[in-house]
Symmetry: none
Subunit: 192 residues, 2 copies
DNA sequence: AAGATTTGTTGAAAATCCTAAACGCACGGA
DNA sequence: TCCGTGCGTTTAGGATTTTCAACAAATCTT
């Protein structure tokens, strides 16, 4: 009967995980227990890794937060867990002098999303050999004009106008105007 | 990661899911039981949804496949298509009068990415009950000022400044300034 | 400073899960 | 046909989890 000294049967860090999540959302064991329809004692034992909850219990508890089982197990507290705020230190990743592409957030692996602050000087051109890569991308022109070619379609976008397409369709960006063009774009999964 | 609505439906039937996975990997209950170090009876009961396994059991069983808990609860596929160019006809999706959120691209299912052109009038606030959803999001302030609260951190961003964070951390946007704030944001997977 | 609340932690009993062993069924070979 | 093998299912009982209720510590209130 005695409590088995936490052998590997008790899954990893379910308890720690639950406690962390619960605290992040500012709930007490009792409050969460009330919402979930379980007892606070159960939550206490689980968080201490003294027991390994049944799926049904864990699911009930997570519904009180609420959080799906999938999200609970997928939640990654270490990698891209940080909050990013940037002033002028967006990292430059452009390859051409007349094009500036500055990345929002750190260039870490495992991101779901990439966002760029781009500036195309007059005459800037990503080239006749059209770009092609995996994923999808979109953007909004903030100032200036940008000529976007996607597959057989071409269009010159003005401030406030936008695009969205699959990145495996050959594409090209050009500034045929006389003033610099500012574009904010995003892609998923991130290319950079 | 998967969409919450789908998660709920899926995680309801752990049993069906386990049986499906087991069969996909061409294992019998007994063979899986042997590899996992549990009894075939347990697997049978679980697959029939006669019991709700403990996390430790389910984890042991999945290790026999092998498959991680996170992977077990997440199974998703989705394609996408079409080229999108928009002028002023970005679709409005905001629910508050003092906040405008206009979506780039069509509101189709299976997109990899969502991009919004947002305008926060002075005083606009997404609310004290912080927002929280799956995925990651980022944005750049184009004009005006925006106060962004993420978890315990808060910061007021000015034009050119940006943020990036995991969307499951409670967050809130407010315009505490005197002029409208224009923000371009992106999220993956798309919330809208 | 004492009392009232709120917090997380326990112990024993009730509820639920897991194991061991047996059961029924289907298939194949001698 | 009879036997052996392999499949998923079932049952009884031991093992584990969950509840219920009480507990100590910390924080507020008065």
């Amino acid at each position: 009967m005695s409590l088995p000294s936490q052998d590997e049967r008790i899954s990893d860090d379910i308890g720690i995980r639950l406690r962390l999540v619960r605290q992040i959302f500012g709930l007490t064991q009792r409050e969460l227990a009330r919402r979930a329809g379980v007892t606070n004692g159960a939550i206490s034992l689980i968080e201490q890794n003294r027991v390994s909850p049944s799926i049904s219990s864990l699911k009930k508890i997570l519904e009180g937060i609420p959080l799906s089982l999938a999200d609970f197990f997928t939640l990654n507290f270490s990698p891209s867990d940080e909050v990013f705020f940037a002033a002028d230190d967006l990292t430059e990743i452009a390859h051409q002098p007349e094009i500036s592409m500055r990345l929002v957030g750190r260039r870490t692996k495992g991101r779901a999303l990439g966002m760029l602050h781009e500036v195309y000087q007059p005459g800037a051109d990503t080239g006749e050999t059209m770009l092609r890569h995996e994923g999808e991308e979109c953007g909004i022109v903030v100032s200036g004009c940008l000529t976007v070619t996607v597959g057989t379609q071409e269009r010159t976008l003005r401030p406030g106008e936008a695009y969205y397409f699959r990145s495996d369709i050959p594409h090209r960006f050009r500034n045929q105007g006389t003033e610099p063009c500012v574009l904010i774009s995003a892609n998923a999964p991130p290319t950079f």
